[in-house]
């Protein structure tokens, strides 16, 4: 069989006109790294499921993409993630939604598929399940990136202009994580403003 691996890192208003050479280089490098991680698994006789999980984990760990670290913010200032996994051989599937502490959501989705009798788990229950199954749990501040935070502020400002309502973030008592300084990688994150996912 022809081993093959295909990836995407999101779609949207990504054009040459609004992309800097530095950002483009950074995205290309992480996409290549992710792809080659999965390919090595396939080349050595590994399964498509292992390749898919490992490839996506690389992109989740990169702050450049809207998944894992680098996820966009909710209205309340949280990073709330979803993931799904499916095995073409057995048609088994697993997914999680609305999780805030699982470092690699894709692994949690696969774990739901392989180690539960269910297909979809959400929120706190999904996080409890992941913890119980030994997946890595992190503080929600791990997912914070400055460009995504600014993206939320911009969206809130636009909404405020449209709806003329007060600052919901202050009302909700959200406190921005204390992460001093802006790292070099933050400058490479492509800001599309309001991402749809």
């Amino acid at each position: 069989n022809k081993i093959t691996l295909v990836i995407h890192g999101g779609a949207g208003t990504i054009t040459r006109a609004n992309m800097t050479p530095e950002k483009e280089k950074a995205y290309r490098a992480d996409l290549e790294r992710a792809m080659k991680t999965g390919y090595e698994i396939l080349r050595k006789g590994g399964t498509s499921m292992d390749a898919v999980e490992a490839t996506i984990r690389v992109m989740e760990d990169s702050p450049l993409f809207n998944a894992g670290k680098g996820a966009v913010f909710t209205h309340e200032g949280k990073n709330e993630m979803d993931a799904a996994f499916m095995d073409g051989k057995t048609l088994a599937a697993g997914s999680i939604a609305g999780v805030t502490t699982i470092k690699n959501p894709i692994s949690a989705a696969r774990t739901v598929m392989e180690k539960s009798e269910h297909v979809m788990l959400v929120g706190k229950g999904a996080e409890e399940f992941a913890k119980l199954k030994g997946l890595e749990i992190v503080d929600p501040s791990y997912f914070y990136t400055e460009p995504r935070w600014k993206g939320l502020q911009k969206a809130l400002q636009e909404e405020k202009m449209q709806l003329d309502h007060s600052d919901t973030l202050k009302k909700s008592g959200f406190v921005k994580p204390d992460i001093s300084g802006s790292s070099a990688i933050d400058k490479l994150i492509f800001d599309e403003g309001k991402k749809y996912g």
């Binding site: 779609a11 490839t55 996506i56 680098g70 709330e80 993630m81 073409g88 991402k195 749809y196």
Partner: protein, 134 residues
């Protein structure tokens, strides 16, 4: 949103999708990524699919399963099936985004109707390519 589809040497397909969702989402909004059949689907008989885009439209169009169904029931190629859904069906209702789809023979499609999509592929001989723009 990130996603991956793969075909291994045993002829098995798999698909995965992971996302932070939509900026400024609330009320527990969930997009298509974790919905099996909408943003993610895999079937050895047809193809593996992962989607990215405006989730509400992808859910309503059951995008990932629809591509598989077009292949299974109408005998379309993976390219034609993916184009039919992303470039025609989704465009008609205003759904912006794209998919990656890979069939059991290693043929794949990466259509998108947005300005750009981060995407890439690597074949059995190790040749690879990363693309961003149209």
């Amino acid at each position: 949103t990130v996603g991956c589809v793969a075909l291994d040497q045993y002829g098995n397909l798999a698909a995965g999708t992971s996302t932070g969702g939509m900026t400024n989402k609330r009320w527990g909004r969930v997009g298509d990524a974790p919905i099996i059949g909408a943003g993610t689907y895999a079937n050895n008989k047809t193809c593996a699919v992962s989607a990215t885009g405006h989730g509400e439209y992808f859910i309503r169009s059951v995008v990932a399963y629809d591509i598989s169904a077009l292949m299974e029931y109408k005998g379309l190629s993976v390219q034609k099936a993916a184009d039919e859904v992303v470039m025609k069906k989704l465009v008609k209702i205003g759904g912006e985004g794209g998919v990656i789809a890979l069939d059991k023979n290693g043929n794949f499609a990466m259509p998108f109707n947005s300005a750009g999509m981060y995407r890439g592929f690597i074949k059995s001989d190790g040749s690879w390519e990363v693309k961003i723009y149209k």
